[in-house]
Amino acid sequence: MTHAIEAVGLVVEHGGRRVLDQACLRVERGAWCVVVGPSGSGKTTLLRALAGLQPLVAGRIELCGRLASDGARLVLPPESRGVGLVFQGGGAGLWPHLGAQATIEFVLACRGVPKKQRAAAALRWLELVELGPLAGRKPGELSGGEAQRLALARALAGEPAVLLLDEPLGPLDAPLRAELVARLATLRRAGELTLVHVTHDPAEVGAHGTALVRLERGAVVAA
């Protein structure tokens, strides 16, 4: 069986400094891989490299058996990798000119969902993160927690094979955090969703985590 993620010898540099240094990561399909490490260890960079947003200096990435990056060559562009990403920070990267429902509809349009079906489908995704009543609101009109849930719904609406989460639960209160973790676990089991979850607190994933990876100075020191 092929792995969801097979990354070997990843090297990323910023201004001459190595942020990832021969990092390797192998994640099985349907796994919930928790990535931990001190600040500046390269966790976010690792996720961005997997998503195709961060050019590599060297290394090789395969996603679900398909070659995605080969050294500096981007074989698959980000939109063709089947990857979703929830950025760090309260709703960072949300589209300020689109309301919550329009945001999800945009994603569905990109996936080729017929126009007539988009509104209902978008609402279903919003319901999933309990944002149904706020479908018309724009990111600026949402609280930090609501914005983060919208970011999660947006990532899920793309129905990715791999969902990359960069400290996604920080802005949420404890009950909501538990609720969302439970839903992610359900989605993972139902659809063979693979999760790579960067966090400072592995406990927030609880017993759902299937693998733990530790990054230090850009290299994976324990998996």
């Binding site: 195709g52 980000p78 939109e79 960072a92 945009f106």
Partner: protein
């Protein structure tokens, strides 16, 4: 960003904006460069730089405090002032000089520096206002807790200083490239020759243009040396994501100083923005022979009747140029902002058409497009559009680049991950996000194209414009009709900005 999109946009830009300059540069021969009188040129250049420094200093002294007060204080009528302050920048510099000379007998180099400073201080004010708005509230609050308003002023000045100095650099660039104002202002008293005079004289007196092109390079180099670093400073200064963890600063209560400062700032803006328009209105209404409202009305309707076709042509060409620039600038400005490696080189290439004397841009267009293969284009109104777009597209490209640089990259990345390709991301996410800077930048192109004359005089298709008619008419003195036509041009130049101020709640955000 798709390489193909960037390639297409860059090709369009290269052809329209850089092509004429390249066509002219290819004509320069070694002999022309060798024939340059370097000692005389250096003297002229130094004198020109002095004029530029004077203008930049005045622009800084007037613009920096005004900019801060407009954006960060409870100055009375700040919103209206912010719109009005654009007027001196948008008025043709010679019109400003003419009206200033109507009020004072002061002449010479210093007077020229003062007028150029007055014409460009809005740039400093607008840049400082934007920079001051981007200071995180917590930085100011911390300063206030530490040492009151004085500490706030010190901290904030340190933060906006690079932008203030860079925008004064733009004022410098404007001043050193002008020769009409200095020629006009030093008509009485000692003459104040400048380097741009030399380029224009080389061009006017000769039968070929290569000498003029050779003579132009020191000034082009000086302008680039100031403008490119200034643009990079502006780009690298307080950048943050509006959607990130930013807390907008609150307005400072000026207390007892509110009314005196408001009065002072209103006086400055009124003297520089309203006085020229008042002067023109006075002249159109009869002037020294006795002002009458009825005369003003008659002059305006007569000028409109006589110049209707010219005004229509001006508006058509300017609108065409603005629309042509939009897609090119969106792609190129975005690519420029997101590129790390090519930032300095890209900025230099983009800004080059603005630093080349307009007359050379005009001749370059002639050399480039007047050939059998492009005859239909050359003879149509599209030629005027290409001419104006080539000259002013950099303003829009740089405006889009600046706006892109201030937006969160993750917004686009999310779209890519959601499955949107580069074109869809650009059209569906980036363009709506940059709607204000795009519209504002297009407006800037429209306005500058509307008041363009120097490059347009050489291209037949662009000869029917209102400014063309005005300059021909003004030759024999300024009567009611000339003043009325000038007022109509000012009206159309100022109209888009006025409509924006009245009906849009957003800032234009079109600054490069």
């Amino acid at each position: 960003m798709s390489r193909w999109l960037v390639l297409v946009a860059a090709s369009c830009f290269a052809l329209v904006a850089l092509g004429p300059t390249v066509a002219m540069a290819l004509r320069v021969q070694v002999a022309d460069l060798a024939a340059l009188d370097l000692a005389r040129g250096a003297g002229l250049l130094w004198r020109t730089a002095q004029l530029g420094l004077g203008a930049a200093t005045i622009a800084l002294v007037l613009g920096a405090p005004l900019g801060w007060l407009l954006s960060r204080s409870n100055l009375v009528g700040a919103q209206a002032l912010r719109a009005l302050v654009l007027v001196p920048l948008l008025l043709p510099p010679l019109v400003l000089a003419m009206s200033c000379m109507g009020w004072t007998t002061w002449r010479g180099g210093l007077a020229t520096a003062a007028i150029m400073g007055v014409g460009t201080y809005p740039l400093v004010a607008l840049y400082v206002a934007r920079a001051a708005e981007r200071i995180d509230a917590r930085r100011s609050d911390a300063a206030r807790l530490a040492g009151g308003l004085a500490a706030v002023a010190r901290v904030e000045w340190a933060l906006v200083r690079p932008v203030a100095l860079a925008s004064a650099g733009f004022a410098f660039a404007f001043a050193v490239n002008d020769f009409a104002v200095v020629d006009y202002v030093s008509s009485l008293g000692p003459k104040h020759p400048v380097y741009a005079d030399d380029i224009f004289a080389s061009w006017r007196s000769g039968n070929d243009t290569s000498k003029a092109v050779a003579a132009a390079w020191p000034l082009v180099a000086l302008t680039l040396l100031v403008v490119v670093p200034a643009l990079l400073v502006v780009r690298r200064s307080p950048l943050f994501s509006f959607e990130g963890d930013f807390r907008a600063p609150s307005r400072v209560d000026l207390g007892a100083w509110r009314w005196p400062l408001s009065l002072l700032m209103w006086s400055v803006v009124a003297a520089t923005a309203l006085a020229p328009l008042a002067r023109l209105s006075w002249e159109a209404g009869g002037g020294a022979r006795g002002f009458e409202l009825a005369t003003l009305g008659q002059s305006l309707s007569k000028a409109l009747a006589n110049g209707r076709a010219n005004l229509q042509a001006s508006l058509l060409f300017a609108l065409g140029a603005a629309l042509f620039c939009l897609p090119v600038a969106l792609v190129l400005g975005h690519a420029l902002a997101r590129s790390r490696r090519l930032l300095a080189l890209g900025t230099t290439l983009v800004v080059l058409p603005l630093c080349v004397p307009p007359i050379l841009h005009g001749v370059g267009n002639l050399a480039l497009w007047n050939r059998p293969e492009t005859a239909a284009l050359y003879d149509s109104g599209w030629m005027a559009v290409l001419l104006q777009a080539g000259r002013y597209a950099p303003l829009l490209v740089l405006g889009v680049a600046a706006a892109t640089a201030a937006t969160d990259r993750r917004i686009e990345e999310s779209a890519r991950l959601a499955g949107a390709g580069p074109a869809r991301t650009l059209y569906g996410i980036v363009a709506p996000l940059l709607a204000s800077p795009l519209a504002g930048g297009a407006m800037v192109v429209f306005v500058f194209a509307l008041r363009e004359l120097d490059a347009a005089i050489l291209v037949p298709a662009a000869n029917g414009t209102a400014l063309f008619r005005l300059y021909n008419a003004v030759h024999f003195g300024r009567d009611e009709m000339v003043a009325a036509l000038a007022l109509w041009i000012c009206f159309f130049v100022l109209l888009p900005g006025a409509l924006w101020s009245l009906f849009s709640k957003r800032n234009m955000g079109a600054l490069p």
